[in-house]
């Protein structure tokens, strides 16, 4: 059940025997039961599995939003479990981007301002911030929609704004949690094309959780979770 994908000296992401337990004693829930996972820079990984298989928990740990109960998670060789909350925040701020199923944009806030937000926290000066946000919105195909608020955008457009917000900082890894979960097939394909393009052209490593086979097919590599362990891990037949 243990999968070694690469033998590079320094993988971008390294999970060794990671377990996650929620609660204690009788009520303890083992979400992850010893995960080993290596992800190289530039990879596009689809994480699949039924509900409760631990894929979202794994994603939260990878995204430095949560810490493992046991085992080691190394990001660029840094032991994340040993970092403080603020240090993990710093890691998210400078290296990670997030796309959620529910878009999670700020309400009553224009697309441009939403995309600017991570740059504000990075302390990027206003002029640069604006031009980079505009540029990124153009990349995701939203030129001309900059001043619209989430309420005025369709689901697909909102997810594009969310993607723009995630990549405006040029992150090392983009974590996408069911990015097409709320979208119809046509819109989903557009989003997947966009992600594939970002992975190919901008060399952004993408880790995507999905339970849709069609969407996973876009990835280079598919990792399947079942009951808190990695069930299978392999190159996607259709990989580009």
């Amino acid at each position: 059940m243990i999968a070694f994908s690469h033998t590079d000296n320094q993988p971008l992401i390294e999970l060794q025997g990671v377990t996650k337990v929620y609660g204690t004693g009788q009520a303890a829930m083992h979400a992850l039961r010893g995960i080993d996972l290596y992800i190289e820079e530039g990879d596009f990984v689809a994480v699949m599995g039924p509900s409760g298989s631990g894929k979202s928990t794994c994603m939260n740990i990878l995204g430095c939003l949560d810490t493992p109960t046991a085992g080691a998670y190394k990001f660029k060789g840094i032991e994340v479990g040993k970092l403080t909350r603020n240090q993990r925040t710093r890691l998210r701020r400078y290296y990670l981007g997030f796309v959620f199923q529910g878009y999670n944009l700020l309400n009553r806030t224009s697309a441009l301002e939403n995309v600017e937000l991570p740059l504000i926290y990075r302390g990027v000066p206003a002029g640069v911030r604006r031009s980079r946000a505009l540029e990124t919105l153009e990349t995701v195909g939203l030129k001309g929609w900059e001043s619209h608020t989430p309420g005025e955008l369709s689901g697909g457009q909102q997810q594009r704004v969310a993607i723009a917000r995630a990549i405006v900082t040029d992150p090392a890894v983009l974590f996408a949690d069911e990015p097409t979960g709320n979208l119809d097939t046509a819109r989903s394909r557009e989003i997947m094309d966009l992600l594939t393009g970002l992975n190919r052209d901008r060399r952004i490593t993408i880790v995507m959780v999905t339970h849709e086979r069609d969407m996973a097919a876009y990835a280079k590599r598919i990792v399947r979770f079942l009951d808190g362990v990695v069930e299978s891990d392999g190159q996607n037949g259709r990989a580009t």
């Binding site: 603020n86 998210r92 991570p118 504000i120």
Partner: protein, 401 residues
Amino acid sequence: MLWSTVLLALRELKRNVMRSILTILGIVIGVGAVITMVTIGGGATVQVRQQIASMGSNLLMVSPGKRLGPGQSSGNIPFKQADAEAIAREVSSVAAVAPVSSQSIQAVFGNQNWSTQVTGSDNKYFRVTNRSIRSGRQFSDSELRAGAAVCIVGETVRKKLFGGQDPLGEKIRLQKLSCEVIGLLEGKGQSTMGMDQDDIVVIPLSTYQRRISGNQDVAIIQVSVRDGAPTDKAQRDIQLLMRERRHLSSNDDDNFNVMDMKEIAKMLTGTTQLLTALLSAVAAVSLLVGGIGIMNIMLVSVTERTREIGIRLAIGAFEREVLMQFLVEAVVLSSFGGLIGIVLALTASVWLAGMLRVPFVFNAGIVVIAFLFSAAVGVIFGYFPALKAARLDPIEALRYE
């Protein structure tokens, strides 16, 4: 980092104008009310002092009864004109003594009528109360003795009854008494108690007693002490004289009252200050309620914005940045509310001061206190909900609906 946080906070406020307005409303009203009350109260106190000063510190008032004010029992023996004459004769340090009786009566001229204070006294009255005749003349001795139907009117009465017409020589009617206007008093303005001192008609005391009150009583004796002479000595002399005239034995209490202006001033300023304190207390309660309003809105908005906090934390905001943002929002709101409150209060105070004809006294202390209070409310009530928010687990916060 601080600047970007302030920027975020300001953006957030701009985005939620309605919520922001509702939040500051309480503070605006609270701060406004406190400052207005204290300012008007301060103005009233100053005015009382000024007017007492303008009346002169050498005025004594002799009135029957143990105490001036309500609760005066009717059993007290009233003064007679002879009492006033005795004071003038016996007490060496007095400059002038005026026996005064007055009541409110409808004055009629032609088809105009006006309810005014009709005062019976003599020419000493003008000296004691520091008033002068602008045109016409004082009462003559024979008029005073005979109780002639003549009167001297104040500026307000002239305006109300005669308009632009010259009142001298005209006849006005006071109840059944028709009297000729022989003089016009110089205007004096509003008195300590808020009464118009020019709303007055003076007639000879004997006329008053015979034609208006129907008895020989004198309500009050006003005494002005000679310049340079000690007031307390005059006060004591009058007291002794009156005790003797009223046949009081050594263990009887005074059944009259000799008050000097200092006492009257103390009594009046005491009253205004008490009123100011009371009103300010009520206003302070409204400020407190405003503070609780801010606390409420902050708590609600933090709960409402849990998901937003989750988003911010997930994309790399530090706990302290989220905390700062909420804190800045609260402080900006409450100090903005404070500033609006101050502007409103000063505008209202100037306007009210004009309406109530009290001087506008700017009290920098209360403005500073009210502003600091509103800012403190923002910091305190903004801090704790914000702290709660910033400590949230980003995953939990994101899941919050």
